[in-house]
């Protein structure tokens, strides 16, 4: 799985799943991919969970990421994401909805989809449950597939990494490389 495939220009990508399933790691991989090629990204962070030092270690150019912290207010986060996708020039707008999934009506999802298409940006949403339903060009469900520990057993000293299974729930529009129902594996080093 390549992060560039998750960034659908003019489309919405939804990454949903339980905690510790690898959603944020996929999002940061997308941020790294975008900023590495010199483009500008924005991150709407509902619950202030973004870790700048970890992202920098992962290769994200922090100066190219506009970080918007929304004070645990999902309504503000949605409004901020709406403003960002209407501003042309951002290659990626990431929305992390935090612990709670806000309600988005079909009409709102449709308007968001049109705004993303018009600005030719990519909107990646990290959430617990699906948010924009049919508005998404790509919907991926993540689940954890084990983790590795390093050091002598039974008391290991270091977490080595964890794996994720990424199931494609929906793939439309520009996301032609993904087939619904297929499962991809990813590995993240700690």
């Amino acid at each position: 799985m390549r992060p560039a495939e998750l960034v659908v220009e003019g489309g919405i990508t939804e990454i949903f799943g339980r905690a510790s399933s690898g959603r944020t790691s996929m999002l940061v991989a997308c941020l790294r991919e975008v900023t590495r090629r010199g483009a500008v990204a924005a991150l709407v962070d509902t619950d202030h969970v973004f870790d700048p030092s970890g992202a920098a270690r992962a290769g994200v150019e922090l100066s190219r990421v506009l970080w918007v912290r929304c004070g645990r207010r999902p309504d503000r986060a949605l409004r901020a994401a709406d403003l960002l996708v209407r501003c042309p020039g951002f290659a990626l707008v990431a929305l992390d909805t935090g612990a709670l999934t806000p309600r988005v009506s079909l009409a709102e999802a449709y308007r968001l989809k049109l705004a993303v298409r018009r600005a030719r940006t990519a909107l990646v949403i990290v959430t617990r449950h699906r948010l924009v339903a049919s508005g998404a060009a790509l919907a991926l469900e993540t689940s954890r597939r084990g983790c590795e520990w390093a050091g002598p057993r039974p008391a290991p000293t270091r977490l080595e990494g964890a794996g994720s299974a990424v199931a494609v729930v929906r793939a439309r529009g520009g996301a032609v490389d993904w087939r619904p129902g297929s499962v991809h594996l990813a590995w993240w080093n700690a």
């Binding site: 905690a19 510790s20 900023t35 010199g38 929304c70 977490l159 964890a162 080093n189």
Partner: protein, 496 residues
């Protein structure tokens, strides 16, 4: 051939006050600095000097010498206003004007003969123009600025020094008339030199050997020669447009339409001279008779009407005028906009005008402290960062770019809990066994650690903790920390 006029206003500070209060003319007037009883005379008018009042005297002493004395405290605003008026008057005679200090202006009058007349006509015109702005000046004309100045200061109302007559004019002038510095004047006095004529008679080479560049400059001035460059005074443009209304505006939409018209006029003027606005000051005249003033800082110099109007509108939405508006005034603080072309293969970034507008809207939504580009700080604390302004530019530090240019493996990210969540941890054999947080209890299936970190032990903000990576029975993979100073456990974040 160069030709200079010098307009000099004697007792300038007092003249500035007389200009502001014409009733003070011909009355003994002193301007004082400081607070009583230690207030001292900073300037005395000609009428006050007739009573032997001089600068440096205490106010009490001055009053004792002249019971009818008028005393005014010093005002920078009045003196600056008179200084600008003097310069503007000189600019009506010649475009090349030098500000010589308070009450003194040098005017390059070379080439004005065919336009105005002979030297006396030029001097007469300068006197009239200065008089028109409420000041009374003496004017000297000579081939050098120093000769013109000394002629104005030492002669009658109009003095024209004939060509080649500078040295004769300066011969009897005392050394103190030149601003040479106390040390140099004391040296000359030690040599028995009292006048500029005596100084001009000294051998130049010997003077240079003994006193260096300062001695040569003094010799030149004594001969009536100017070597200093002529610093042309360029008046600052006044970027203001206003519109008075015959009706009252109460809605923001209608007000925005009026502001747009005024703004278009202002930006057109800016475009003519190729400058942009760095900030815009909005002044609304209200029906209640008061003013509603707002300063709109722009993220970058621009003269884009749409952008500035949007920012003004957003500002007025948060700070609406308290009454109906009957007049609009806009002032621009100009700056030269330097376009910076993007790199050839650089992906498109948000346009400056869109970005400025977006940031303003986001700031209104989430607050200024919650928006920007994160930057790491040099600290041992793993969660240390600062939030700076976002420009979308590449990192300026080449080392940062070099780090980013590598190919790191995909990394598992931590979702940090801000602030760290206090949890209850049961331990066994020194390792976490059970975790209770927010009413849920989970068994620790696996854990790794401890990683002992600490910092700022030299300060009052010392911290020290042991960090553990744990896998919980509810599938969460998280990082715990045991604060060794406070003996508390908290959840640093979730791996995700």
């Amino acid at each position: 051939m160069s030709h200079f006029a010098c307009a000099w206003v004697p007792c300038f500070a007092a003249a500035a006050f007389e200009r502001a209060e014409p009733a003070l003319v011909d009355r003994p007037l002193v301007i004082v600095r400081g607070t009583p009883p230690v207030a001292r005379v900073a300037e005395a008018s000609a009428a006050a000097r007739e009573h032997r009042i001089a600068p440096g005297m205490t106010e009490t002493e001055a009053r004792a010498r002249c019971p009818l004395l008028v005393v005014r405290p010093w005002s920078d605003a009045r003196v600056d206003s008179a200084r600008h008026a003097l310069l503007e008057a000189a600019l009506t005679v010649s475009p090349r004007v030098e500000d010589g200090g308070p009450g003194l202006v040098h005017v390059d009058v070379a080439g004005l003969g065919r336009l105005v007349g002979d030297a006396r006509a030029i001097a007469d015109r300068l006197v009239r123009q200065v008089s028109a702005v409420g000041l009374s000046a003496r004017v000297g004309i000579a081939q050098s600025r120093v000769a013109a100045r000394l002629a104005a200061q030492g002669g009658p109302r109009l003095t024209v020094v004939p060509s080649g007559g500078e040295r004769a004019l300066l011969a009897a002038v005392p050394l103190s008339a030149l601003e040479l510095g106390r040390e140099l004047i004391d040296t000359f006095r030690g040599w028995g030199v009292r006048t500029l004529g005596e100084l001009a008679g000294l051998p130049r080479r010997s003077l240079g050997d003994r006193l260096g560049a300062a001695g040569l400059r003094a010799h030149d001035l004594a001969l009536g020669l100017d070597r200093d460059p002529f610093r042309v005074h360029v008046p600052e443009p006044y970027w203001e447009e206003m519109l008075g209304l015959e009706w009252e505006i109460v809605s923001l939409d209608a007000l925005a339409a009026v502001i747009e018209r005024v703004l278009e006029r202002l930006t057109t003027r800016l475009a003519v001279v190729h400058v942009s606005a760095d900030a815009v000051d909005l002044e609304l005249t209200l029906a209640s008779g008061t003013m509603h003033q707002r300063a709109i800082a722009l993220a970058y110099p621009t003269r884009d009407v749409r952008l500035i109007l949007t920012l003004i509108r957003l500002d007025l939405e948060t700070h609406p005028p308290p009454a109906a508006v009957v007049g609009v005034t806009l002032r621009a603080r100009p700056a030269v906009a330097r376009p910076t072309p993007a790199e050839l293969w650089q992906p498109p970034a948000p346009a400056h005008r869109d970005l400025a507008s977006l940031l303003t809207r986001l700031t209104a939504l989430v607050g200024a402290g919650n928006l920007g580009a994160a930057a790491l700080v040099d600290s041992h604390r793993p969660d240390a960062f600062t939030l700076g302004p976002f420009t979308g530019a590449a990192p300026s530090d080449p080392a940062v770019r070099a780090d980013a240019a590598g190919e790191p493996d995909p990394r598992m990210m931590l979702r940090r809990a801000e602030p760290p969540l206090a949890v209850s941890v049961e331990t066994g054999d020194g390792r976490p066994r059970w975790l209770t947080s927010e009413g849920t209890r989970a068994r620790v299936l696996a854990c790794a650690g401890p990683w002992r970190i600490s910092g700022e032990w030299w300060d009052t903000r010392a911290w020290a903790r042991d960090e553990w990576d744990v896998l919980l029975s509810d599938t969460r993979l998280c990082r715990l920390a045991h604060d060794r100073l406070a003996n508390h456990w908290h959840l640093v974040g979730l791996y995700d």
